[in-house]
Amino acid sequence: MADAVRYSDEELIGRFQKGDENAYSELVKRYKDPLLNFVYRYVNDRDQAEDIVQDTMVKLFTHKHYYKEIAKFSTWIYTIAGNLAKTELRKKKRQKTTHLSQIGPEDSEYQIPDHGSGTDESIQSSFVEKRIQSAIQQLEPHFRTVIIMRDIQELSYEEISNILNVPLGTVKSRINRGRLELQGELKDLR
């Protein structure tokens, strides 16, 4: 689909609902990385995050007719990914509770993508990223979700409110509280 850039997300899903698989392919290309970024920051596991994004895209394929044009496509796809990520996190939590005795020191490490170069600057940057990722994980899930959506994914307050199905005021207040908590966790970095 060479001229896919002309189509909005909503037009593409409309075409896909009519059977155009190229439109599906274009939607996947547009959203796979932003969704991976969102899910990875939420579940803190690169491979698991990729599996969740795959599941999201398969759901998009099998449940394409569930999308109604009353909502933005991005809102819908983030809702699916967010719900799958939450479910996965709950499963993980249960497994951790069940196999508490099997937890090794590697479980406390966070998987950060390897940037390769190994210079002082990159080591420092990797350390900062690790600390930030760790601080995000310390947040309560309802703060974590909104912080990732707003400050990492840069979604609007309205979009976040629609995705999470909570009032705008609640979203604003959670973002503010989340930022305050996060800066408390990262004080020693300053």
Binding site: S25, V28, K29, K32, D33, L36, N37, Y40, R41, R46, A49, E50, V53, Q54, M57, V58, F61, T62, P113, H115, V128, E129, I132, Q133, I147, D151, I152, E154, K172, S173, I175, N176, R179, L180, L182, Q183, L186, K187, L189, R190
Partner: protein, 180 residues
């Protein structure tokens, strides 16, 4: 503006969504409280850190794996739906099917016990269909023993005597107004 109000609007201030009057109030509070100004700076730095986090990207094989899964889904959708799931009967597992069958049989049995037996003919004397003749009309029983009958008559006579004694007692005791 107090500390709580100040903290509540830090994000609004940093995202430039405070009204002019609120903004002036906010900045006046920061000037008066250096630690509040430091807090705002720390939140601003945190927001910047989050925004500049490296973006992760999907692996190279992502699209291939996805299309493979999509093909599997298509194949699954094309397969005819099985009429009966293995190991179940009308949607019940063998255990629940067995329990259900026992319940249905018990229900039918109890129901039959409760329904009046239509085959019994109405009693000639009473007209009741189900009342045994011995209870409904003892005097008409052809096989009733005369001794038993006599005893019951004797009992009834004695009972009459007691009643008449009682009546006599009442006569002695009751006084009418004209008797006085």
């Amino acid at each position: 503006m107090d500390r709580y109000e100040f903290e509540d609007v830090i994000s609004d201030y940093l995202e430039h969504s405070l009204s002019q009057s609120k903004k002036q109030e906010f900045e006046a509070y920061m000037e008066a409280n250096p630690e509040a100004a430091a807090l705002v700076e720390s939140v601003r730095k945190t927001m910047d850190d989050l925004r500049t986090l490296p973006k992760v990207k999907t692996s190279e094989g992502f699209m291939d794996r996805l299309w493979q899964r999509v093909d599997e889904e298509k194949a699954r959708a094309a397969r005819p739906e099985r009429v009966r799931k293995s190991g179940t009967f009308l949607g019940f597992t063998p255990l629940y099917a067995g329990l259900m069958a026992i319940l249905v049989v018990s229900f039918i049995f109890v129901g039959m016990e409760l329904i009046p037996n239509a085959a019994i003919e109405p009693n000639a004397a009473t007209g009741y269909t189900d009342a045994p003749a011995s209870i409904a009309a003892p005097a008409l029983r052809s096989d009733a023993s005369p001794t038993v009958l006599a005893e019951s008559e004797e009992d009834s006579l004695e009972a009459d005597d007691i009643d008449s004694d009682k009546q006599m007692d009442f006569k002695n005791r009751i006084q009418f107004v004209k008797d006085q």
